[in-house]
């Protein structure tokens, strides 16, 4: 009955489930306009929609209360505009990061995001961001995003930002949508600031007892692009720092002197930028965190952003962390509160009400039923 839209639709099956909820249909739009048509039709019929990219994180956060339509963006995978001289690229949201990286590498450039799953899409990376190692140097996905096209629950197409790196005209809807987990609308296109590929990359790794040892690197002027720790449930931790630039090797060697040891390498250690395991939790903590027995933690000493696995009682762990630390259950089973305190929740709710008053976009994925 949506024949007039000409959008490809198929029946949903168990393989399309979102956190255990099987959608009745899967829609595969090929343009911004088609997304708008589908969402408009869903609005008329009161259908609940969940957007999907490569589905690597479709299970993250709480399962949606209902999903009638899975809006699959995999048919929107084009680079729309790459102006190498401006270090700017505009893409459709369904493009896999690996494919984008390939195109950009041809011009000696990159989108400086570390995403562990090459098939992951731009849309998913914005909607469900989890900063990787180099966020210390380049910022998070939201910091590299300079323009966005979104489609709202009622089918409205809206743009914000633009294709210049510096721009303060109007509210930054792109930032608002980062971290929205599909609950505000659909990210259809995005424009990013790019970086030149560094002339060289070197890693310095060293084993350590505690978290303090790497502090010297952050206090140094060697400008590491990333300082990561792998703290396994048992055994010694390993710290790895990345240096980028034509003098990367010299700087990595200088860093080894600062630390009094370590191993220089041209490739990252195997755990670099990978999630530690399950159940998976996101930890934000600006000081060396307390880590419970049996829990492994990986992430950035420089930004305080970590992923943790093996912890199910998050309430108990939270009670041992500083007040401004945040611990959120991403994927798996947790006892107690998976979200922890979110002081801005009332504002988040109000934004949700204005963007999706009928609660049809992935309802209930985020804290407080958002």
């Amino acid at each position: 009955m949506l024949g007039h839209t000409r959008v490809t639709i198929r029946d949903g099956g168990p393989a399309d489930a979102v956190g255990g909820v099987v959608p009745r249909w899967v829609a595969l739009p090929e343009s911004v306009e088609e997304i708008s048509v589908v969402l408009g039709a869903c609005a008329d019929a009161g259908l609940a929609v969940t957007p999907a990219g490569a589905r690597t994180k479709l299970g993250w956060a709480a399962p949606p209360e209902r999903v009638d339509v899975l809006l699959d963006l995999s048919a929107m995978h084009e680079v729309l505009e790459h102006v190498a001289g401006d270090l700017v690229v505009r893409v459709q949201a369904g493009i896999p990061l690996a494919r984008l990286a390939e195109v950009l590498a041809g011009a000696g450039q990159e989108l400086a995001l570390d995403v562990p799953f090459p098939e992951a899409t731009i849309g998913g990376t914005l909607a469900a961001p989890s900063p990787g190692p180099r966020a210390y140097r380049y910022g998070n996905a939201r910091d590299l995003l300079i323009g966005v096209t979104v489609v709202l629950a009622d089918g409205t197409i809206a743009r914000a930002g633009g294709k210049v790196v510096k721009n303060v005209a109007g509210y930054d809807l792109g930032k608002l949508f980062t971290g929205s987990y599909g609950t505000l609308g659909v990210i259809a296109e995005a424009t990013f600031r790019l970086h030149p590929l560094p002339a060289d990359r070197r890693w310095l790794t060293f084993e350590c007892e505690g978290w303090e040892d790497a502090g010297a690197l952050l206090r140094s002027q060697l400008e590491p692009s990333a300082v990561e720790i792998d703290h396994p449930a048992e055994g010694l931790s390993m710290v790895a720092a990345l240096f980028e630039g034509s003098a990367a090797r010299d700087r990595a060697e200088a860093a080894r002197e600062v630390l009094g040891g370590g191993e220089l390498r041209a490739d990252p250690p195997s755990w670099w930028g990978r999630p530690p395991g399950s159940p998976l939790a996101s930890l934000r903590c600006r000081v060396a965190p307390h880590v419970p027995e049996g829990v492994s933690v990986r992430g950035s000493l420089a930004t305080g952003v970590y992923l943790a696995s093996g912890a199910t009682d998050l309430d108990a762990w939270r009670s041992r962390l500083p007040g401004d630390a945040r611990l959120v259950g991403l994927a798996g089973e947790f006892t107690g509160d998976r979200w922890g305190p979110i002081p801005s929740l009332p504002l988040t709710r109000r934004v949700k009400e204005r963007f999706d008053p009928d609660r049809r976009m992935s309802p209930g994925r985020l804290a407080g039923g958002v």
Binding site: M1, I9, W25, D44, A45, G46, D68, G85, D86, G108, R142, D143, V150, T156, A158, R159, A160, G162, K163, V164, V165, K166, N167, V168, A169, G170, Y171, D172, L173, K175, L176, T178, G179, P196, L197, A199, G215, S220, Q221, L222, E223, S246, A247, R251, S282, V287, G304, D324, A325, W339, P343, S344, P346, L347, R350, V351, E353, P357, A367, V370
Partner: protein, 472 residues
């Protein structure tokens, strides 16, 4: 009972200003041709006091406007004659500095430079550096998402603010942080120009000072050649801390004002600053000089000391004020264009000068395509002001035509609100309005700024119940 009574009940008399003469101090910001006398000015000292004022405004249906140091260049802090002006100049404490966390927590009235000054001797700094940094407040920076010369490499205010305490337009005190899971409310608030509430506490990121800093001044015969050098530097994969450019008229003005001693006869000068680990800076400097020479630079000076560096920057930093020496009045524009269109847009500006008989001095952040054309005019000559206005507007049209923006760092304010529909569709603006309505359904927080036409929010639409029919 009026809003005055309520304010006088909360504040001591010296912190509620109603005297017409004293009110006049606050009638404009850095954009002096928009003026309005506020109904009343209050000087709160705490977030609770800010919240009390905002609640009083809600109770009596009165609009309010926040003001930091009043250096804004888009009329953002222009008061309302029917409203309360909330000035943060008494909220000037640096609440904490924690170098292990590389963070400082400050009140909104703290000046931008004061943050760096508090940590400089320990080898740290706060990166965003608007030219007004000695005076402008961090609260104003947050509202405008201010930039500065070094934002090319390090980003803008939004990339350096990690958490905020805000007073919402309903008068609640709420914390928003980049660490919170879910929507990036922090990113939406920064740059909202005081329309989503008032920032009362700001957590900023501190950065380790670079090991080495070097500044190069390169002179070119033409602005096109300078522009070519910029493209080649970026094309070579070099990301300088700053790339600034000035044209002949701007150089003339700076010379007249501060005797900066830039090479005579230069049609354009480029200031390139490189910073970072010493070996990186050294190799990049050699490369940048080679590029400048290859693109026709006839003189290059490298600052050998901090003093010499300051001297090179002096001309650039004084440029706005200096233009006052060569023209009785001027309009500062803030358009942005993709870097690759710089040449075309500058040629377009040249054509406008000829067409309207109006001079334009160009000073700009060349690395990120942010132009600051200074449109010069004589405000006593009949019709010149209007012509300058037209030229200004046409420059913004040029920027939009080339896929750019009407403002790179000064904000929309009252000044550029009418240009917003040239850049955005109704649907875009309506969508932004939804954010506004979520934060400020009563439309009391700095109304009349940013958006061209006032819009009402209405109630949150009631949940509509549809039956998932067989539509597919």
């Amino acid at each position: 009972m009026t809003v005055f009574d309520r304010l006088e009940a909360v504040f001591p008399p010296d912190r509620v200003i109603t005297d017409p003469v004293r009110l006049r101090t606050y009638e404009c910001d850095g954009l002096t041709y928009h003026r309005a006398t506020p109904m009343v000015v209050v000087l709160p000292e705490t977030a609770e006091e800010v919240a009390a004022v905002v609640r009083a405004c809600a109770e009596f249906g009165v609009p309010f406007v926040a003001r930091g140091s009043g250096t804004g260049l888009s009329g953002g802090a222009l008061p309302r004659s029917d409203g309360v002006l909330i000035v943060t100049s008494r909220m000037r404490r640096i609440l904490s500095v924690d170098l292990d966390r590389r963070q400082a927590v400050v009140e909104p009235g703290v000046t931008n430079l004061a943050i760096t000054e508090a940590v400089r001797d320990r080898g740290y700094y706060y990166a965003p550096d608007p030219s007004s940094q000695q005076i402008c407040s961090i609260g104003g920076n947050v509202a405008e998402n201010s930039g500065g010369a070094h934002c090319l490499k390090y980003g803008f205010t939004v990339n350096h603010v990690q958490a905020l305490e805000i007073v919402t337009p309903d008068g609640e005190i709420v914390e928003i942080s980049e660490d919170d899971f879910g929507y990036d409310l922090l990113g939406a608030f920064v740059g909202s120009e005081g329309t989503l509430g008032i920032a009362t506490k700001i957590t900023v990121r501190l950065m380790r000072a670079p090991e080495s800093v070097t500044t190069l001044l390169a002179a070119f015969e033409t602005i096109e050649a300078g522009g070519q050098a910029v493209s080649s530097i970026v094309g070579a994969g070099i990301l300088p801390a700053a790339i600034e450019m000035m044209d002949a008229l701007a150089i003339e003005a700076a010379e007249a004002a501060v005797a900066c001693g830039y090479p005579a006869d230069a049609g354009a000068v480029l200031i390139v600053e490189l910073d970072g680990p010493a070996p990186e800076v050294e190799s990049q400097l050699a490369e940048v000089i080679a590029i400048c020479v290859a693109t026709g630079s006839f003189e290059q000076r490298v600052a050998a000391s901090a003093d010499e560096r300051a001297k090179i920057w002096k001309g650039r930093k004084s440029a706005f004020a200096a233009v006052g020496r060569i023209s009785p009045a001027y309009i500062v524009q803030d358009g942005v264009v993709p870097r690759t269109c710089l040449g075309e847009v500058l040629a377009g500006i040249d054509a406008l000068q000829d067409e309207f008989g109006i001079r334009v001095a160009n000073v700009f952040h060349a690395g990120d395509g942010n132009l600051h054309p200074l449109v010069l005019f004589d405000d006593t000559a009949p019709g010149e002001g209007e012509r300058a206005e037209v030229v200004s507007g046409r420059i913004l049209d040029l920027c939009i035509l080339h896929g750019g923006s009407i403002t790179g760092e000064h904000g929309v304010g009252v000044d550029k609100a009418r240009y917003m529909p040239r850049m955005f569709t109704d649907a875009d603006l309506d969508t932004m309005q939804r954010v506004r309505c979520a934060f400020d359904p009563g439309g009391r927080s700095n109304p009349g700024k940013v958006f061209p036409t006032p819009r009402l929010c209405g109630e949150v639409p009631r949940v509509r119940k549809g039956s998932p029919g067989e539509i597919f």
